[in-house]
Symmetry: C2
Subunit: 377 residues, 2 copies
């Protein structure tokens, strides 16, 4: 018997799925946008994922289609599903990931904790929302935003003049959300099979800089048993309620009084789960493959009391971080270095470092120190 996974998208998430596929003897093929992608080693087709004919050709070579990103048009996914092809997560789940207004509507139906929000079609509606929410709002384009793009802090409709003038580009609506006065950001990772089996990793704290994940602390410091259970319950409710399969990341704000508010969802392995490669019995990448193939899920227990992941964001066009290995590996023999085979570019997610151990302070210090050597070039 073979278990053959086809991944659409050749980024680092696809790349990191190759490793457990090799380990477990699962076949993996990647449909990439271009030659020389991060996942080039397993790429069997280069093409345009917005074209049904191209994706269909790829789908014929595998047992299930899954994703490195959430941008494949629903029309393409629905066409494949209509032909009996297994798409995981399915289009009925991905529609919520692709449109934040649909997502907010569905999460509201599920009674999940969220910032106040409203669909905005006019400047007047935006002004009304802003004044009802303390004079400020987070305005989002419902489609296409990630890593801080498609998000703006607005204090009046004039701050959003350009988006409002081009609102038809965003499907005719914008999403306004209450600006939550949070004390920190958290992420809860779960995985779910088509048969409904679900597993969660420990709640993590994410540290964002300029809208991009910089560090992840595992488990989230000072999280109580109630916090951990509450976060897991939220993410499991999202996964089941939206019909997600594979890995789901639920990004949340925590307020000073300990409430959680759902911020964003990602229906794929996520930066907040990279720690699990070394930190968990089953990594998010292995678990994603198991889940989309409807194979039994692995243990999400931690192999160490603490894990810290620090992202390696590009500093210029020269430092690809691999070039720093002679110094970085020598100074930090316990740190695990990951790079994604990408050309160097300022701000780009080029790699990450994970350190695991018993002492949370030491683990954080070691991961930051190792990253520091890499960033110095």
């Amino acid at each position: 018997m073979k278990f053959r996974v086809g991944v659409i998208g050749g980024g680092q998430l696809a790349r990191m799925m190759i490793e457990p596929a090799l380990a477990m003897g699962l076949e993996i093929k990647v449909f990439a946008e271009n030659e020389g992608s991060s996942a080039a080693l397993a790429t069997t087709q280069v093409g345009d994922y917005t074209k049904v004919s191209e994706v269909r050709e790829f789908a014929k070579t595998v047992d299930v289609i899954t994703f490195d990103h959430e941008h494949v048009p629903l029309t393409v996914l629905e066409a494949l599903e209509a032909e009996g092809i297994s798409v995981q997560p399915p289009s009925k789940a991905l529609k919520f990931a692709q449109n934040k207004l649909h997502m907010r509507t569905r999460l509201t139906e599920l009674g999940l904790p969220m910032p106040a929000w409203a669909e905005i079609k006019t400047a007047d509606q935006l002004e009304e929302f802003i004044s009802a929410n303390g004079g400020v709002a987070i305005l989002k384009t419902p489609i296409g935003g990630y890593d801080g793009k498609g998000v703006a802090v607005v204090r009046s409709a004039s701050d959003a003049a350009e988006w409002l003038a081009n609102i038809s580009d965003f499907g005719g609506s914008l999403l306004a959300e209450q600006k939550v006065d949070f004390v920190r950001e958290l992420a809860q990772l779960v995985a779910r099979r088509p048969n409904g089996e679900i597993a969660h990793w420990p709640l993590v704290q994410t540290v964002q800089r300029d809208g991009v994940c910089a560090e992840v602390l595992v488990p989230a410091p000072k999280a109580s048993d109630d916090d951990l259970a509450r976060a897991a319950k939220i993410a499991e409710t999202v996964a089941s309620g939206l019909g997600v399969t594979g890995v789901l990341a639920v990004e949340m704000f925590e307020t000073a009084d300990g409430q959680f508010f759902i911020n964003e969802l990602a229906m794929r392995p996520h930066n907040s789960g990279h720690f699990s490669i070394e930190g968990s019995v089953t990594s998010q990448f292995e678990q994603h493959l198991r889940a989309v193939l409807d194979l039994p899920l692995g243990s999400t227990a931690s192999v160490s009391a603490h894990s810290v992941m620090v992202n390696l964001l590009g500093v210029d066009d020269a430092n690809d971080f691999v070039n720093t290995y002679p110094r970085a590996l020598a100074a930090h023999p316990s740190a695990k270095f990951h790079t994604y085979g990408k050309a160097a570019r300022k701000g780009r997610k080029m790699g990450h470092i994970t350190v695991i151990g018993d002492d949370s302070i030491a683990v954080l210090a070691e991961a930051r120190a190792a990253a520091s050597v890499c960033l110095q070039g």
Copy 2:
């Protein structure tokens, strides 16, 4: 900067080097004997490793040549080295792996503990060795043996009549070794860089069945601090004394009075080190890549108190073990399953299972139970 490793041989050891190469962004290319090998994903050339011209062509595409096996002829390796190509381990070390008589001679010069041994050219010499060693000897072909092949227990020269009659096939000599009355078998894994840096993993116990490794227990049960230090010292002396680079496995017998006797050497990642993928901060496969590239070595600390590895040896022509995943993964969510992408065949090394944890009894029981589900088909 790129660090490009070329691996000769497309077996499971090459396959398991691909995973850390992907993780760390090191380039890896494989020169395989045939299409569809275990390491097919990274194969860039299929050819005959006994032909200098073919291996040279491959070597031009990488920074260093290393190995999945020890069978590349010395003449090929020496020709590459003469052209300035980095071969790790170098021919001067591999000559000891390729000829057990050379190996015994060199280990004797280094004063390392070994079974009594003799070079055998005639029936009379063999009879003399047998009578001097309690009426029995382990007779080995000096070249080409592995996994129990090329080894015979002999009690008289007539037991070795066929090898003696064809002695020129083995270079004109056989190797006779004392049959050590051992209580168990151990293996000590080390890695060494060209610059001399060396690192050792904990001593392990190996359980052999029919001359093939069946289980590995980590660390070796009841090993004292002195045992651990003594074993590490032996392996480090071998690595330095023979000029080995990359991973070296030293297989040893332990006698009732606690002596260690060197049995076999392997100058590559070894079955006794597969536990390190999950059990160690740095796996033998990652460490091998680091070592042959002359990059700083990683920590060999254990991430858990105990690890157990159980091999999955083929039971028939149908069960490739991947087919058993639906049941095996469900019953054993904490076990880590590895399969090598090989067609099923009785007795073949098809995969392995590793379990890590704090309780040595529970870890062993879980690994065996997980393997049992797979072996049932």
